[in-house]
Symmetry: C2
Subunit: 151 residues, 2 copies
DNA sequence: GTTTAGATTGTACTTATTACAATATTGTAG
DNA sequence: CTACAATATTGTAATAAGTACAATCTAAAC
């Protein structure tokens, strides 16, 4: 079970080891899923998709490991409207745009010095989250088109 | 029941009317609670505190009206770590600092032009949320003191 | 090969929130 | 004032996301 995945998962394996997390089969799968489908999935989505090919996977394992990844700084967690948590890889700091129509989360760049601060008004910053909410370009264009057709 | 509260709740009453929300007794109580205890309470906290003096109040009423207030732009909702939602009055745009130790939410000012944008990379912005997480000044000082005593 | 620490699994539980139907209140037209 | 419609509130039941925990499994260390 293990060595079959040395090749494919090599980089994820290294990433986990560098953070002192044992690179178990399940952890590699979870990490791989998030890295390859860069669509900010929820725990449930990750669970459903991986358990298609690995039916023995437990929901708890997914939750446990997502929490570990967040604590160790591999992933960041994003809270949407609907009391659900979504996950994203931590790369260059960036902001998120949450579309209220299609529920997609879109990465956006912010060239502001916000991320360089390590304290604000005396409070020690460990994490910064910037989230925009509204209507994404796609949904906005769809609406526009619909309006035009009516006229 | 109604006119007893004309005096005290006058400004909240006006605020609700200006947003086309009927200023019911319960709504005034909820709004008053949030405005007077500026500590970003959760629905549960609001419910518990108001229902001490108004035992007939329903949890559902609190949730319903908080949602209405958010939709109408009177309140903003803040998602914390623990899948709970907290509420804050919308005044001058500001950011929030969530202390991972004491769980307080502290208002912080940001003098950045972030709030002036109404679109980013083509996506229409309706709302911006900036949230810092870390250790607040208070908790940080406590930790410092403890460390000093040990030495 | 045995031991031990850590990981995974599955079930039961908690917590925040919503759905919904019944009841109550308010505003309005006759 | 009374009747009616519209809206608000209430309480219960349901849902959904996440956690606690005990049992089982795995893998590395001796």
């Amino acid at each position: 079970m293990t060595d079959r995945h040395y090749g494919v998962h090599g980089e994820f394996r290294d990433l986990l080891c560098s953070k002192n997390i044992k690179p178990s089969y399940q952890r590699l799968l979870i990490l791989e899923y998030i890295m390859k489908n860069k669509n900010h999935p929820s725990a449930e989505i990750i669970f459903k998709n991986i358990s298609r090919s690995v039916p023995t996977l437990s929901r708890t394992t997914v939750y446990n490991n997502l929490n570990i990844f967040v604590r160790k700084g591999i992933l960041s967690s994003i809270k949407t409207n609907k009391s659900e948590t979504r996950y994203d890889i931590i790369e260059i700091p960036h902001a998120h745009f949450y579309c209220l129509q299609c529920k997609r989360i879109i990465d956006v760049d912010l060239k502001i010095p916000l991320y360089r601060k390590n304290s604000i008004q005396g409070h020690k910053i460990e994490e910064v989250q910037v989230q925009f909410r509204g209507t994404c370009r796609n949904c906005f264009n769809k609406k526009e088109k619909k309006t035009k057709n009516v006229l």
